[in-house]
């Protein structure tokens, strides 16, 4: 088995706001392997965005702080990395796509200037002008990273194959070199007429276009892990479909693993290989996306799927999960879902159920792939 590109181990994150301490993320473990697309679903406030921002350490510290756990990215524990060294890890290592395409582009700069900044950062690291990150057991060496399909096609024009390292280092790129590369990335995200778009300001672009520029920005860093934090939530349904199609196409072309955060079950079902369901800061169910959707083994997942509106269901009202999302400054003891759970027994109040493997529903599912944090996961399929 290959090494996971990202390994999150028992990560806990708290927000200290005034006198209250909110456990936004508790004891989350997650592995992402090369080329994998992992989706995280959950309702608002379940900690999924905090998790996404915590991996490249983008959340404001303080008020947020990592209580315990490890974020091992390519052999380095990012929790131990000093804050001032984090810019070296971000960018070329971890790319991010944000939720709000409206505000995620700097209004003062043209599309070219937005994208070229991350290309320059990567370029400087590749040729060694800027020091790359050397912490941890496995040093980051940006120049020796495995090239991907797209990136090899892109860099070939700039750095010839087998060129002596000195020549590569001496090679200074001009503005038109950068312009060409930016245009390449605009084409990569399927922007028609990139020659015009490259000189426009963000306010002159539509929401879908802006989100594509965002994706181009994230891809131009050639990250090995791409974190998409609700990339389609702020878009119209039609544009949403376009962006999703684009992302699905890019998954094949760009050799990056993707962590896809969304509250939309349909979006996750479309894109992800594996799905993690979060509730009140914990991952309560994890497994291959087909498996989890076909036979959920946690009452919350089951009820969440039942609550999703369906186009062919015309009779009756929408189902909802009774009760409210718990206040994360005083989470319920034991299993955090027990106040709302139809299967709750006394033990659920006292002990926290571990995320344990469940018996797979079909023969083609690997035995340990599907895990659920419920004492009575065998009873879940029997729920209405």
């Amino acid at each position: 088995m290959t090494e996971p590109i990202l390994r999150v181990q028992n990560l806990s994150i708290t927000y200290t706001v005034g006198a209250g301490v909110f456990q936004a993320v508790s004891d989350v473990s997650l592995d992402i392997y090369p080329g994998q697309v992992v989706g995280i679903v959950g309702e608002t406030g379940c900690g999924k965005s905090t998790l996404a921002q915590a991996i490249p350490r983008l959340m404001p510290e303080p008020p947020a702080s990592i209580g315990s756990g490890k974020i091992i990215f390519r052999g380095t524990d990012l929790v131990q990395v000093p804050k001032r060294k984090m810019p070296m890890v971000r960018g070329t290592g971890i790319g991010m796509i944000f939720q709000e395409p409206l505000n995620s582009l700097n209004p003062a700069y043209r599309v070219f200037d937005q994208i070229v900044e991350s290309i320059q950062i990567r370029h400087f690291r590749e040729i060694g002008v800027v020091k790359s990150f050397q912490g941890g057991e496995v040093p980051f060496d940006y120049s020796k990273r495995p090239t991907t399909k797209v990136s090899s096609a892109l860099t070939r024009s700039v750095i010839p194959e087998g060129a002596a390292e000195e020549i590569v280092k001496q090679r200074i790129r001009t503005r038109s070199d950068y312009r060409k590369e930016v245009l390449d990335y605009l084409r990569l995200v399927r922007i028609n007429d990139p020659e015009t778009i490259i000189d426009l300001y963000p306010h002159e672009l539509s929401g879908g276009m802006r989100q594509r520029i965002m994706i181009a920005m994230a891809l131009s860093e050639k990250p090995s892990l791409l974190i998409a934090d609700e990339p389609t939530s702020a878009l119209d349904v039609t544009i949403q479909a376009q962006v999703l199609t684009l992302m699905k196409d890019l998954i094949d072309e760009v050799d990056a693993s993707i962590l896809f955060i969304s509250h939309d079950l349909g979006v996750i079902a479309e894109t992800a290989d594996e799905i993690g369901v979060m509730y009140a800061g914990r991952i309560i169910e994890y497994g291959p996306v087909d498996e989890v959707f076909r036979s959920p083994r946690h009452p919350y997942t089951k009820m969440l799927l039942a609550a999703a509106p369906r186009i062919y269901k015309s009779d009756g009202s929408l189902r909802s999960i009774p009760g409210n999302v718990p206040n994360l400054s005083r989470p319920p003891s034991g299993c955090r879902f027990h106040p709302r759970c139809p299967l709750a027994r006394p033990v659920c109040k006292e002990k926290t159920p571990p995320l344990a493997p469940v018996t797979p529903s079909g023969p083609d599912t690997p035995p340990d792939a599907h895990r659920s944090a419920c004492f009575f996961s065998e009873e879940v399929p029997g729920l209405p």
């Binding site: 939720q99 991350s118 990569l188 399927r190 007429d193």
Partner: protein, 356 residues
């Protein structure tokens, strides 16, 4: 779209990589279009240009514009404006036009110097206080110190504080400049810090951080560029305010002496309104008052124009020749783009007709 410098549908010449010269040309072109589209800012720009040019001529070659020295008795006493004395003469026989003109460089210089010094000092402090204020760091302590110091200065009425400092330092032009300068920077700290606080939490700053941009570069490239617009506009308007404040202190009589070797508008107003009767010799106070009025008005109008130029949104709107927004360019549906572009997307860039 391969033609060099071909005009895009937006009416903007696409810079095909000629770099600096072209971008300067484009900026100047934009500048000119905005001014042309907005007559009042154009007037302001013209007025400021003329005022600055006049001040320069008076410094370099005063005899071109000023017929008499500051304390020259022309032999005509308290004469109303005429062709030989544009703004009349006073009871001492001094030519008022000459004195008003001779005061222009010093008044203008004081306005720009004080506002500029306050902008630089207050702006820098505001950036630090706004950007590096994460609790529990050294920056937070520095930021707190800056802000409390600012609050102390702001709790005094600036004019009274400037007067008090002037009195303590002694009467004179430079003492007054120093006094106003000391009271002026806190406004810039407040303004800049507020803007920084608003900008630094915007998603594009986080996006830049996620792209691996370092903190100092984020501050300079992403934050400062976006607060430039309100700051420059405020600065331009502020030059007028400084001028009025200086003239007020001059009017009270603690800044500079009039009549004297270096006339100043505020001091002239003070002298003429106390020495003569406004009813009998109205032209004496009219001239310095008009000078203050025109200068302040010019900078106010220019400030409005600059706002339009610095904001990319209004700038483009002006460049397109209309203030209303054109809709963003229509996009063909992705499906067709996929069919056409997807298979060649990875290989296409290298050999496609990219202009060089």
């Amino acid at each position: 779209m391969t033609g060099e410098g071909k005009a895009t549908p937006q009416g903007v010449t696409a810079p095909p990589g000629k770099g600096f010269v072209r971008s300067v040309q484009e900026s100047l072109g934009t500048f000119w279009r905005v001014l042309r589209a907005n007559p009042l800012s154009f007037l302001g720009f013209l007025m400021v240009a003329i005022i600055c040019l006049t001040a320069l001529i008076i410094v370099v070659a005063p005899h071109l514009l000023v017929p008499y020295g500051p304390q020259v008795n022309t032999g005509a006493y308290s004469k109303p404006p005429s062709s030989s004395h544009l703004f009349g003469t006073d009871a001492n026989g001094f030519d008022i036009y000459s004195n008003v003109m001779l005061a222009l460089p010093i008044d203008l210089g004081i306005g720009i110097a004080i506002a500029g010094a306050a902008l630089l000092a207050g702006g820098a402090l505001g950036l630090i206080a706004g950007f590096y204020d994460r609790p529990g760091t050294v920056g937070a302590a520095v930021s707190l110190t800056i802000m409390r110091l600012t609050d102390i200065f702001l709790s005094f009425p600036s004019l009274i504080l400037a007067l008090a400092i002037t009195r303590a330092l002694g009467i004179g032009v430079w003492e007054t400049v120093l006094a106003i300068g000391l009271t002026w920077w806190p406004y810039y700290v407040r303004l800049v810090r507020g803007e920084v606080l608003a900008i630094k939490h915007l998603p594009y700053v986080t996006a830049a951080r996620a792209a691996g941009v370092r903190e100092n570069r984020i501050l300079l490239r992403h934050v400062v560029r976006n607060l430039l617009e309100p700051i420059v506009v405020y600065f331009t308007l502020d030059i007028g305010t400084v001028l009025v404040t200086y003239s007020t202190i001059g009017f009270i009589g603690v800044a500079s002496k009039y009549p004297g070797p270096q006339p100043e508008w505020g001091a002239m107003l003070a002298f003429y309104q106390s020495a003569g009767s406004i009813n009998t010799y109205p032209w004496e106070v009219f001239a310095p008052g008009l000078a203050i009025f025109i200068t302040v008005l010019a900078f106010s109008l220019l400030g409005d124009g600059l706002r339009d130029i610095l904001d990319p949104r209004t700038r483009r709107a002006f460049v397109r020749g209309t203030v209303s927004h054109d809709p963003p360019p229509e996009l063909p549906p992705l499906a067709s783009a996929e069919v056409a572009g997807a298979p060649s997307a990875a290989a296409g860039p290298v050999d496609s007709g990219v202009p060089t």
